[in-house]
């Protein structure tokens, strides 16, 4: 079993839809949770960053962490064609000398105009 599981998709939605992307994990020591967006043939870029449990909102994006269920989500409201990309979840344990991120495999999202 992988430490982080993510549905690869592809997920196709019409413009304006609410998108829900999810990851589950098995390591209860994870404290930092991130979502990266990766456009085709580009490097990942950080989209959302959350510490421990709870919600974080940034514009049309909301990140949720439920540590009791070992489940994280990214919601995209009013989705746009420019949101079409692969979304990677990533996690790391607290403290330590290095920031070793464990990534999910990514979910490919296509927003149709």
């Amino acid at each position: 079993q992988k430490e982080v599981e993510q549905d690869p998709g592809p997920l196709s939605v019409p413009e304006g839809a609410i998108v829900s992307l999810n990851c589950t994990y098995s390591n209860s020591a994870f404290q930092y949770f991130m979502w990266y967006r990766q456009y085709s043939r580009k490097g990942p870029e950080l989209l959302m960053y959350t510490y421990s449990s709870g919600n974080k909102e940034d514009g049309r994006f909301t990140a949720q962490v439920d540590k009791s269920s070992k489940y994280i989500s990214l919601f995209i409201r009013d989705s746009q064609p420019s949101d079409s990309a692969t979304y990677l979840c990533a996690m790391s344990e607290s403290g330590g000398a290095t920031n070793k991120l464990i990534f999910g495999t990514g979910t490919l999202l296509a927003v149709q105009p």
């Binding site: 404290q31 790391s92 290095t98």
Partner: protein, 113 residues
């Protein structure tokens, strides 16, 4: 301010050949990382560096070597390329290692025949 750059962007090697991938960052970051990205596997850490002159193994270090002679550069070497090393390689850097944001380069697409 170019961020993280990678050279070359594409490369085709024959089995047994060697090559070096160069990563450069202009953000004065202490930490640098090399990942490989394969379909269905996500991003996996190959080697990382917590400062000039230091390197350490990540999740999949076999067949690779690294060097960090200057703070701004992180080199990834393949001494004897194998078809299993066909992948997209990403370099990343972060200011600190305490779960700080990692900034990724655009990637190098390597094919080993």
């Amino acid at each position: 301010n170019a961020g993280v750059t990678q050279t070359p962007k594409f490369r085709v090697l024959k089995t047994g050949q060697s090559m070096t991938l160069l990563c450069a960052q202009d953000m004065n970051h202490e930490y640098m990382y090399w990942y490989r990205q394969d379909p269905g596997m996500g991003l996996r850490l190959i080697h990382y560096s917590v400062g000039e002159g230091t390197t350490a193994k990540g999740e999949v270090p076999d067949g690779y070597n690294v060097s960090r002679l200057k703070k701004q550069n992180f080199l990834l070497g393949l001494e004897s390329a194998a078809p299993s090393q066909t992948s997209v390689y990403f370099c990343a850097s972060s200011r600190t290692g305490d779960s700080d944001t990692q900034y990724f380069g655009p990637g190098t697409r390597l094919t080993v025949l």
